[in-house]
Symmetry: C2
Subunit: 136 residues, 2 copies
């Protein structure tokens, strides 16, 4: 299912107001968008590095997935995402290979992408997202 | 210190003999190199995805950094690496910004790169590596 590139790396942070200026000042990256994803209970901030985005994730609810992640493990890398074409087919293919899916079918993610998550128990502990750009 | 791209994502795995065929069969990526980095007590396997590499890391010693990481946290994403130019200057710059360095000066990493690690306590829990290609 060869991905074209790493679409993004998701990093859980406690406070975007601290993290955004750090990524801008220390790494020289520009935050080009901040977006709330209500059903994921997160506020996200995006930076571009080559082909790949860094997506900072601040929880808007301690009971949401990022809130629970930070409570359990602290801040840090939360997931990585591959850019793929034909997402629905790719999810089916990886499931046929024995991978447990979190999302059996594509759903809407940040930035208008269609997304699906694979379960980290099937993927060497790496919470892995597949992303498809529906405009391409 | 704007990085040009994400050089690689490092993933700690227990057994390359299981992980390599998974990344090849399920994700359709090709393992183009396996290399032992003796001073880091790891065996590494590399895959290319767009501009970025995935570096799988198997510990060769339970007391090495990857052995300890897996014992404490299990398999999963271990670090991310930015590609930069003028690594020595960049390490100095980030230190001046208040970031704690693991490596005060560049040292040799896998694939002939010069590398330096930033301490995750300074970088929102993300073990962050800066890499410079000395041939460029």
């Amino acid at each position: 299912m060869k991905p074209t590139h790493i679409e993004h790396i998701g990093i859980a942070v406690k406070d975007l107001k601290e993290a955004i200026p750090f990524f801008e000042k220390v790494y020289g990256l520009e935050c080009y968008a901040v977006e709330e994803v209500v059903d994921q209970k997160v506020k996200t901030a995006f930076f571009k590095v080559g082909d790949t985005k860094i997506e900072l994730l601040e929880s808007t609810d301690p009971e949401g997935p990022i809130g629970k992640f930070i409570e359990k493990k602290g801040e840090g890398i939360h997931h990585m995402a591959f850019a793929v074409e034909n997402l629905a087919e790719k999810l089916k293919f990886v499931e046929e290979q024995g991978v447990r899916l979190i999302d059996k079918a594509p759903r809407k993610g940040a930035e208008g992408l269609n997304i699906g998550f694979l379960h980290p128990k099937s993927t060497f502990g790496v919470l892995t997202e597949l992303c498809e750009d529906p405009t391409k």
